[in-house]
Symmetry: D2
């Protein structure tokens, strides 16, 4: 049984330069152990090769202790302390969005790699500050948790667009459906928590920035809680004039579904179609619908984490979506919230990229 | 071999009242024998039980004579004369749209059943005139050629909505794609010739009028001829706030496709998905795409004609879409053309129904 | 209103030669008005252009009278009298199989076109007799009701095989599933009433005769009535060595399904896949399964009848499956019944074709 | 950066008893580094959490050295030495089948966990010897590489059968298709290398042993190399009379495909249907077919390895298919080879399970 403890001569000049040892495990702390953070802790503890979960941290002391015990790791009650802990090599941030700016900046100061759940921060201004701080460091340390970029379907679709086989993209028709929302979910969260993924998908697939957004709301479903406009219809325009429409509907009652359809000059493509076993019975023919995002995107999260740890171990820059992606998404979503209030088309200006 | 000539005692009081004899064939003239009219002539001559094609009529004399000879029927060079011909019981109008008003009004005067290809007329005002004229007659004589109402898919979707099983409708996502357009096809024709079907589909499926429309155009495909904005994106709102979006794209190069997706409060449904043989080969797995509307909607046209002839034979009112449907579609499309020019949302007011 | 009574100058020399008048309707009598015969009567009365239902005939006097009244046609209580009736031009035979030989031979003597529901007769010997009698007449008068040949899917599959694009066929995997069977349905009827279609399909698709058959039975379903081996598994071999396996399962409880999968040297193809509207709801995603053969093959029956009447009107030979097809199917099924009893592979020898 | 070296107090009494330390990595040697072994080496080195690839071993010295260098691990030129090496905790055996018996028995003697690629051995007799040897040890050390048991589709299908919702299984219709075979592939290998998977799938899904097998060969494809009967059709019967048919076709030219269809008393289910992006273009609609087993079953292999390492780390018995599964598959395949030669149905008798 190996302890992986033998110091090895690192032959790879790149990883040597970065100071990482490929034979060692990356010691990770998970900050925020709500539903998402616990899921990530389990992933790091059991599934991600090369990672070692060493600590969890949350302002909720009882929860932190319980999760720490479950995984046999340290409980650190102050997330800021976890960031700077010398026994922690890298950080997964799954705390509430309003804490992200502070924690990410602290991690940048500490020179530690971060995988930060979306949103990067809750405003374009604060995200922009992180963009600038990382640019000063001259090295990409922060990956934003846009896990769809690691989903096989989105990768196939992006490759198809990049191939040019179907000509230039003209439309992306997107649907983002949830079975239900948590209590107190409001209309702006639809934009900031859900549509934010479609914003990143648009940028990832087309390689273009979003320049304008408008939100139109049809009648609301009777299933929507008081005060929530659900569903909504979001229309984005990219630099070259690609039109992206998003049906965002978070109280479908029937399950979780995320689909994207590309319409290009000479072809069309769809991802997110039903998969898995197809049955026939007295009820008809068909299959089951994923019940939540974990079922739909579980493999994408696994891949996201594996590739992030690989990059950290190899001492290379993280190769996933970075702070500029987080900033651009925040800026588009902020414009979307304005459009939701006014009903008008709102333009987006990202300013120069540092 | 029967000649169907024996006078029969008509027992059905309804048909007796209307003066039709169920054992006789309905003598039909087809006005306009371009591609569409020829197709209808063939349908009446070979497929529609109870119909007898007796004449064809077109201002193009040579074409009229050729088609008449092909089917062994009379050539009538003046379409107005065909309408009033005593040997003609019923009329199919497939002439250019600008001629419809005159011919339909003439048929109403003659008290003859008409199946009029869409558009009913080229403006809401002229369509309204027909609505009022038919209302004066107190009897439905005109059916408008919205053949999708006879497509099994649309009928299934309508029945689903009517059942209420999925709750109230919230969205219809529609796509209408053609391989190519004829020369000189312009941006307004996209609205008047293609989107008009989606307007009727919206009204047929939801049972509501369209109250507003707006048109947004993404970048145009390089395949579009000079001067044609293609594709376009049309957004309609119905009385209860259902949002209907339509991708209209008429130079896809890859074939003909018409899809509709319903999103309701507790379910979702799609029609127009690929059907037929599915193959596997070195090119992958898949199937073929209909090349044109005849392949996609051939069975719907057959059913439309059979049911129209059945109604005419039985002396009952035609049961298909009528002049109000034609008028409403014309009014919405006229508003759509305005929106296409201004980029603004345009409201639609149909006025009172006579 | 036309009576179609005006004698026309028949310009088509072919139809003149055959003695038929294209402007007249073919007067048809339906023999046997059980479920199938009534369905055909309705089809001829309302859907088949060029046909006129003039009489129905069944040994069940009350049923004959009721159906005759429903359609407003003559009731003829002796089917043999209907065959020879001078006011009857053509015959649809939907009586029980054991009566077919007599009625078809009578029709051949009368020189009248026949559409005979399968089976042509109940034994290879009697079918052979009809083959020889028709051969003496030198003219094809009898079409056997293998309606699948008029189903779009089978036609696509046959065209694919004929194209040679996928190389030579190697397998046909077939499934034939019914929801339930009528009382007293026995194991041999599975072969004679159901597998008979797969025998014809095999011959139609491959253009080869079946040279051997064997039947293997897995455990029976608990839903099968006493005495019925259900399901069964039938394996046929064609002249060139194509292997055809058939799952025949007639108490599935879930609906009616007929699928065929071709495996060829360089490709594979499937027909009979689910079609129509696809929904999503709390029950999952999917669609409905046809409840019976009428739903699955309704359009095929319509086409079969239209093409048969067209051929009769044009005075040409019927172009559908003929008596040799009926005989070959009967011979293979008889061998299948032997295999069912013995468990052995049974070879089939059709003898020379007259 | 952690070295995971701190000795931890193992709280889990089970793992303490087995002598494994949960915080340490399992040191694995891969025996046989052909295509399959290299793939497994890469998997252990980069994807399997808790594993550490420490050595590779192959009788081909040059290949061993090259692969060892690629992964930065030891090259051991004698596979038997790798088995007994004290720095190796567990073994993956991917050497040719004829070497398996010797290596597995040696590993059993050494008390080391083994993941042995199928076949367990090349004859029922030798497999039986391993079954008995492991039974003497009283502890499951050997897992056989039937990776399909870790495929989500097979797991869904098994759960469906186990639920009883569809009643008792009656049929499994299976297809196993490869694009091409390596040179010198012969008819018996079709059974031993390919059908062996379907044998295990049958046992895994139904929980029953196979009691008889017969092989029928249709005409061979022109693409088959000299001497290879390809395709073949294999029919198995289980204890309760479930019929399992397998189309095995290894020169399809079009790709890799493994499908299984269950037919049960009140329902039907399919797995292995096409997944992933669906496109439309001038070539029609459709998607791509996996090119090989790595693409089709890559995720199953990943899961198989992760769960095997998890079990080894936890010091529990391996939970995957064991030596009895390997023996039963070998016995059925040996009977299949006999049937292939004689054309007869061959019964299988496994003898008592130790």
């Amino acid at each position: 049984m190996s302890t992986s403890s033998t110091p090895t001569t690192t032959l790879d000049p790149d990883s040597a330069r970065q100071g990482y040892d490929r034979d060692r495990l990356v010691r990770v702390a998970v900050l925020g152990v709500g539903m998402m953070g616990q899921d990530h802790a389990r992933r790091l503890a059991t599934l991600t090769a090369g990672a070692e979960l060493v600590a969890v941290s949350d302002v909720d002391v009882a929860r932190t202790d319980a999760v720490a015990q479950e995984f046999g790791v340290r409980a650190i009650h102050d997330p800021r302390a976890a960031v700077t802990d010398p026994e922690v090599d890298a950080l997964v941030i799954a705390t509430p969005g309003f804490t992200h700016e502070d924690l990410v900046l602290l991690a940048l100061d500490a020179g530690k790699p971060v995988l930060c759940e979306k949103p990067l921060t809750t405003s374009p201004e604060t995200s922009r500050r992180i963009v600038e701080r990382e640019a000063e460091l001259g090295r990409q340390l922060v990956q934003v948790g846009f896990m769809r970029r690691f989903d096989a379907g989105y990768q196939q679709l992006r490759a198809l667009i990049a191939s040019g086989d179907h000509g230039a993209p003209l439309f992306l028709h997107c649907a983002h459906r949830n079975a239900t929302t948590p209590p107190n979910f409001n209309s702006e969260q639809l934009m900031l928590d859900s549509v934010v993924h479609e914003v990143d998908v648009t940028r990832y697939l087309t390689g273009e920035e979003v320049v304008a957004i408008r939100v139109i709301a049809p009648r609301s479903t009777a299933q929507a809680p008081e005060g929530l406009r659900d569903p909504q219809f979001v229309i984005m325009e990219t630099e070259s004039g690609i039109l992206v429409d998003v049906e965002i509907f978070v109280n479908t009652t029937f399950g979780y579904e995320v689909r994207t359809e590309l319409v290009a000059e000479r072809g069309q493509a769809r991802i997110g179609l039903p998969e898995g076993m197809v049955t026939q019975s007295a009820q008809g023919w068909g299959g089951s619908i994923p019940k939540d995002f974990k079922e739909r995107f579980g493999a994408a999260y696994d891949t996201e984490f594996q590739r992030w740890i690989d990059a950290v171990r190899n001492g290379t820059n993280v190769d996933g979506p970075g702070v500029w992606d987080g900033y651009a998404a925040a800026a588009v979503c902020a414009a979307g919230v304005r459009s939701l209030r006014t009903g008008e088309r709102v333009e987006v200006d990202l300013g120069p990229r540092p």
